[in-house]
């Protein structure tokens, strides 16, 4: 996929982010994770984040892949790939997209661990990261 994006005309930089399932969280050992989403709204939310990113930076291509269903430790959950003429736009847009995805795209994680089953709580840090982008408006 990264190679594919780099073959487009005018592309001087391709930046990618991959998010993985960690095997430990807060003294729990993870057996697996269930990723739930809201079909229909998910696609709309991702498209809206892509359009926002394109309105802020000069971007050639954006690809977002988010997995759902059962995921095992070390599996990839999400991939974001951004290509642009110059690296700065691709770096910034890639970070922007993952920060917004974490608070605006309707996905929910449930951890099935040695200590039981738990819905993952939202992280304050993710909300702050998204809020920090407000200065772009």
């Amino acid at each position: 996929m990264i190679l594919e994006l780099s073959r487009k005309d005018n592309v001087g930089a391709v930046v990618s982010f991959s998010g993985y399932v960690r095997e430990f969280s807060k003294e729990k050992q993870l057996k697996y994770m269930e990723l739930e989403h809201y079909p229909g709204m998910t696609e709309k939310a991702l498209e809206s984040i892509i359009q926002k990113a394109k309105s802020y930076w000069n971007i050639e291509q954006i690809t977002i892949i988010h997995r759902v269903g059962r995921l095992l430790p070390k599996d990839i959950i999400v991939g974001v790939i951004v290509s642009s003429r110059h690296r700065s736009n691709a770096f910034k847009a890639c970070e922007f997209i993952i920060d917004f995805l974490k608070t605006e795209a309707p996905f929910w994680k449930k951890e099935i661990s040695d200590k039981g089953e738990f819905w993952v709580a939202e992280r304050q840090e993710d909300i702050i990261k998204k809020t920090n982008w407000n200065k772009l408006d």
């Binding site: 990723l35 709204m41 939310a45 999400v78 608070t103 929910w108 994680k109 819905w119 993952v120 709580a121």
Partner: protein, 86 residues
């Protein structure tokens, strides 16, 4: 008034359904009013949801919204805990 109601994640488990067509005899103007009507009628989990509504999110026709935003007959109303993707 007809609404398509969807629950996700922990709410889906608490209510034991993911979606339901709801018919109300009286119009409600917002998701908050909808909760008031449902908790008066059904009690139980609905009262719990009403009391803790600020910890949950609302989407109207698949767009994030607030509890006070207007809803209309035929709308798709989704209620869910904070998003934890990525």
């Amino acid at each position: 008034m007809n609404l398509k109601l969807l629950f996700f994640a922990s709410l889906r488990e608490q209510f034991d359904f993911s979606q339901k067509e709801i018919t109300l005899t009286k119009e409600v103007g917002s998701a908050e009013e909808f909760l008031l009507v449902m908790s008066k009628k059904n009690g139980g989990e609905w009262i719990n949801l009403l009391e803790n509504k600020e910890t949950y999110k609302v989407a109207i026709n698949q767009e994030l919204a607030s509890w006070n935003d207007p809803i209309h007959s035929g709308d798709e109303l989704a209620i869910f805990p904070p998003i934890t993707g990525g």
